[in-house]
Amino acid sequence: MIEVIDAERCTSCDICVNVCPTNVFDKTNGVPVIARQADCQTCFLCELYCPEDALFVSPFAEVVEGIDVVALKQGTLLGSYRRAVGWTDETRQLRSADRSYRLLGR
């Protein structure tokens, strides 16, 4: 489930509020809030659409993991999905990295 909106990185652009398919976030005057965490379906798309890598979705779908934000920011996981699918300037070439054709039908 979505667990982290890092207030330092967040620019209050509200993209996450718009793109979340299950309407988990609410707008505020500043940083959006995770208003309905139990509605999160752990699809990772808010994180993928965040241009600032301010969001982190825990892979645990049914329980709150309790993320240590300080440790998270020291590591490499923030923004890792966005980089992996090629949605950053530095990793654009990965948008066409799909090798499924080598795996399908094997």
Partner: protein, 531 residues
């Protein structure tokens, strides 16, 4: 529905659902010269099973021998319920539309021989592009705007829909000459990837205006996922070995053709997987192809190739089953005038029969049926002589009507339905006595629900979702009871074999009283005509 302020639109074609089928339908309708509104429960571009995942696509070069081979290869698995004409036209349409995606800039990979490879799509990339193209086609998109009920005119023809604007705290009403239902299947809030918006809403709305369903017994695929997670990508488990707690191999367990062994083992205790059959090259291809598959592992420090991890099976219902609204002609019209169906909201029996092995056929069906339904709805809107200012009425029932009973309470109903459809011993392995007992409980829940009063405004969406799940479960199990054999994904402990005399479809419908009726396969009709 209790009167909340509502924004109103008047249009030619209304598309409900903004996944692949809905966006292809909206684009096709707009390209046919009609005004189009598309309403999505969430956000068109991230909503649904495709956006969060990646999917194979049934894309096959138009070489007659290749086409024949891919059609023939699936017939046995699907229980010989496919229709060759529909398979062929789906292959044609998918080929054309995939090539359009390339023209639109979808970044298809290029293989070592320089050939563009179009047999799979990355969900986020694909649906981001589809949103862009839908807007470019001039379609009005309403995000976070779940439909609650259809509108009908005096003749019973569908005339629009009404719903909520979740982020505006009010409602919407769209008067339309034709409506396309592309709301997806029903996965019963099982947290299979991206599917919690897929609660069968379109089935309920359509059934409320008298539409028929079909193949609802083919509704029990379960997907493998890490026990703690949501990523139900099963392709890569083809390289897994499956073990019990003590480390010994689960006999017969496999992703393909051995999932029932996993289900049986899971009723006894935990089951573990390790992708230890993947060599270095396969591992690299996996990482490049499905970055989301690795999120649960990278974020918990598990190396899935060398370490075993607990798995579970999550119900995918009709999202990967083949049941759905019955299509009556090549335009993807339903049995109700003015109402069309596409994607997982529609049956996939025509190209898959009783079994889908993965996203490939469903993705092809979404592109194709979406295109046909959009064209069909546009032509109907322009040509069917729909009067411009007709009187319309709201067709919604459960949770929307004032009744003497207490308000419908969604929070209680959804878990009660899940308790009937999640257990492997009820749904994976079916048997008449267990199905009947489950139906008695589901019917009792429906009776209570249909007597309940209108839900409070804040509970309306959840209430309609729960009612849709409940109705879906009842069509599923009634159809499962009617099919007294095992065929496709439907397996009956009491009828373990396929019965050659039963090569027919099960149509279903109704709300308070569920009915089923057999419908002969077109080959049988053709054979009879030839005699």
């Amino acid at each position: 529905m209790t009167a909340v302020g509502a924004v109103e639109y008047d249009t030619d074609v209304l598309v409900l659902g903004g996944g692949p089928a809905g966006t292809w339908a909206a684009i096709a309708a707009a390209e046919n010269g009609t005004r189009v509104v598309l309403a999505d429960k969430g956000f068109c571009g991230t909503s649904g099973a495709t956006a969060a995942a990646g999917t194979g696509v049934w894309y096959v070069d138009p070489d007659p021998a290749r086409r024949e081979a891919v059609m023939a290869s699936r017939e046995k698995m699907g229980g010989y319920l496919q229709d060759r004409q529909w398979m062929a036209r789906t292959l044609d349409c998918t080929y054309a539309q995939s090539n359009r995606l390339a023209e639109w800039g979808y970044p298809y990979p290029v293989d070592d021989n320089g050939k563009s490879q179009r047999t799979s799509l990355q969900g986020p990339e694909y649906m981001r592009l589809m949103r862009k193209r839908t807007k470019a086609a001039g379609v009005t998109i309403l995000d976070h705007s779940p439909a609650l009920e259809l509108l009908v005119d005096d003749s019973g023809a569908v005339a629009g829909a009404a719903g909520l604007r979740r982020q505006k705290d009010d409602g919407w009403i769209v008067r339309a000459r034709a409506v396309v239902i592309a709301t997806g299947g029903c996965a019963f809030l099982s947290k299979t990837l991206g599917s919690n918006v897929l609660t069968g809403d379109g089935y309920l709305m359509a059934a409320e205006v008298g539409a028929e369903l079909t193949s609802m017994e083919f509704s029990n695929p379960y997907a493998i996922s890490p026990a703690f997670g949501s990523v139900t990508k099963t392709l890569f488990y083809g390289w897994a070995s499956f073990t019990y707690e003590d480390g010994s191999i689960v006999p017969g367990a496999a992703s393909k053709g051995g999932r029932s062994a996993i289900a049986r083992a899971l009723t006894q205790g935990p089951v573990y997987a390790r992708l230890d059959k993947a060599d270095e090259e396969v591992r690299r291809s996996m990482r490049a192809s499905q970055p989301n598959f690795f999120l649960p592992f990278d974020r918990t420090g598990i190396d899935p190739f060398t370490q075993r991890f607990p798995i579970t099976l999550r119900l995918e219902g009709t999202v990967r089953g083949t049941g759905g609204l019955r299509i009556v002609d090549e335009t993807c019209a339903t049995s109700v005038p003015g109402l069309y169906a596409a994607g997982d909201a529609a049956t996939r029996e025509l190209i898959c029969g009783g079994f889908t092995g993965g996203g490939s056929h469903n993705a092809a069906w979404a592109m194709s049926s979406g295109t046909w339904a959009g064209e069909g709805a546009a032509n109907y809107a322009r040509l069917a002589g729909v009067p411009p200012r007709r009187r319309v009425a709201r067709a919604g029932t459960v949770a929307l009507r004032e009744r003497s009973g207490r308000p419908f309470a969604a929070a209680q109903v959804a878990p009660d339905v899940q308790a009937e459809v999640f257990p492997y011993e009820l749904n994976y392995f079916r048997e008449a006595g267990r199905l009947r007992a489950s139906l008695r409980r589901l019917d009792a829940l429906w009776t209570t629900a249909s007597r309940a009063g209108a839900s409070a405004k804040d509970d309306l969406l959840r209430a309609r979702e729960a009612a849709s799940m409940l109705a879906t479960a009842r069509w599923m199990y009634r159809s499962a009871l009617a099919r007294q054999e095992s065929r496709g994904m439907h397996r009956r402990d009491d009828f373990p074999d396929q019965d050659e005399r039963l090569r027919s479809y099960v149509t279903s419908g109704g709300l308070d009283e569920i009915w089923t009726s057999p419908r002969v396969h077109t080959d049988a009709v053709a054979a009879e005509a030839a005699e």
